[in-house]
């Protein structure tokens, strides 16, 4: 496995539940990710610089928070059900943004609603985790992050395995497996 760079991936976690934020933060940190956790979609959008003026930064997924800071977000993991804008709304906004659409988005939900899951995957979510999220779920994130990094390094890489291919594949269960995988 070519882990050439020891770069720390930065994950933005969005969840209105204090407990779940603490949990996801720990899960991600245990997996050696850098974490920023916010409690609402509007805060996430603010962090990503989507609120207010259009970002002119030509280097996605780097987003300028302000002139002095450049924040890179390699993945967004968000709860689905939140007061105000939902995780699905966030997903849509990310995918509609020229500068952010390549950031992988993962949705979490405590409710197992197949139509909801499909909707998210069709909208471009990489994974859908049932809560409570576990380490085995977080372990599934690395390939998405590595791919994102590869895409970043090779701008002409045609690795777009998005949308349709995702939701049509029957093998991809978006939630925890029952098989005894040796981790």
């Amino acid at each position: 496995m070519g882990m050439a760079t020891e770069a720390q991936f930065h994950v933005l976690a969005v969840d209105d539940s204090l407990i779940d934020r603490k949990l996801i933060e720990k899960l991600l940190k245990t997996s050696s990710y850098q974490v920023t956790a916010v409690d609402s979609v509007s805060k996430a959008l603010e962090f990503l610089g989507l609120l207010g003026a259009e970002q002119k930064d030509p280097n996605p997924p780097f987003v300028s928070q302000n002139r002095n800071q450049e924040i890179e977000v390699n993945m967004i993991i968000t709860d689905y059900c939140m007061p105000g804008l939902t995780g699905y709304d966030l997903l849509r906004k990310i995918k509609e943004s020229t500068y952010l659409k390549d950031i992988p988005v993962v949705i979490m939900s405590s409710e197992n609603v197949p139509s909801r899951i499909n909707r998210c995957l069709e909208e471009g979510a990489e994974e859908f985790f049932l809560k409570p999220v576990q380490l085995s779920d977080v372990n599934k994130l690395r390939p998405h992050l590595m791919k994102g990094k590869a895409k970043e390094d090779e701008p002409n890489n045609n690795n777009k395995r998005k949308g349709m291919e995702e939701c049509l594949s029957p093998d991809r269960t978006r939630t925890r497996y029952s098989d005894m995988e040796v981790i």
Binding site: I19, L23, K131, T173
Partner: protein, 177 residues
């Protein structure tokens, strides 16, 4: 009581939580996240849960006093509370939450109130048990209980390690849709 005996007591207490259905596998997930960087992670999360859920319980109580009952609101509050309870592995509490939501969907106010009383009982019982457990664990001193090493496929745990009946976390329930 020597240290080994205290450890054994703690392990037995812990096992009883699973055997008696107070806690589920999610609690083990929390334990697995505990490490040198966060040696009290489980206790921190549980403490946070009890602190945070006080607010949620109050919201539900207030909502239950309204007339007529707003079942949507009640369900929404309970959804949040259930989520938190689920995240710490509070099995019986979570079960009451589910029951409560069923009554909300059915528009059964009496059912809601009855279930809520039961829920609060379970919530309080668990709190007491966990407080005692953490206190004892601290007295026992740092060992496997506090800082769990990386789990292996350990189906028959060695009693010496105080992993009495530890359930390997990778044995998951089937999910399909």
């Amino acid at each position: 009581m020597d240290r080994n005996q205290v450890h054994r007591q703690v392990a037995l207490m812990r096992q009883s939580f699973f055997d008696q259905g107070f806690l589920d596998e999610q609690f083990i997930q929390l334990e697995e996240l505990q490490d040198e960087a966060n040696p009290n992670f489980v206790e921190e999360v549980v403490t946070l849960y009890y602190r945070d859920s006080t607010r949620l319980i109050l919201n539900i109580e207030q909502a239950l006093e309204k007339s007529p009952l707003d079942f949507n609101k009640l369900d929404c509050h309970m959804h949040q509370f259930k989520g938190s309870s689920s995240s710490i592995g509070a099995k019986k509490v979570k079960s009451e939450c589910t029951q409560f939501r069923e009554y909300c969907k059915a528009g059964n106010g009496e059912g809601c109130m009855r279930t809520f009383q039961q829920l609060k009982k379970e919530y309080a019982i668990l709190k007491k048990k966990l407080e005692t457990y953490f206190q004892m664990a601290r007295q026992a001193g740092p060992k496997e209980i506090a800082c769990r090493p990386k789990p292996k496929l350990d189906i028959c745990p060695d009693l010496e390690k105080n992993y009495v009946g530890w359930i390997p976390s990778r044995f998951r329930y089937t999910f399909s849709f």
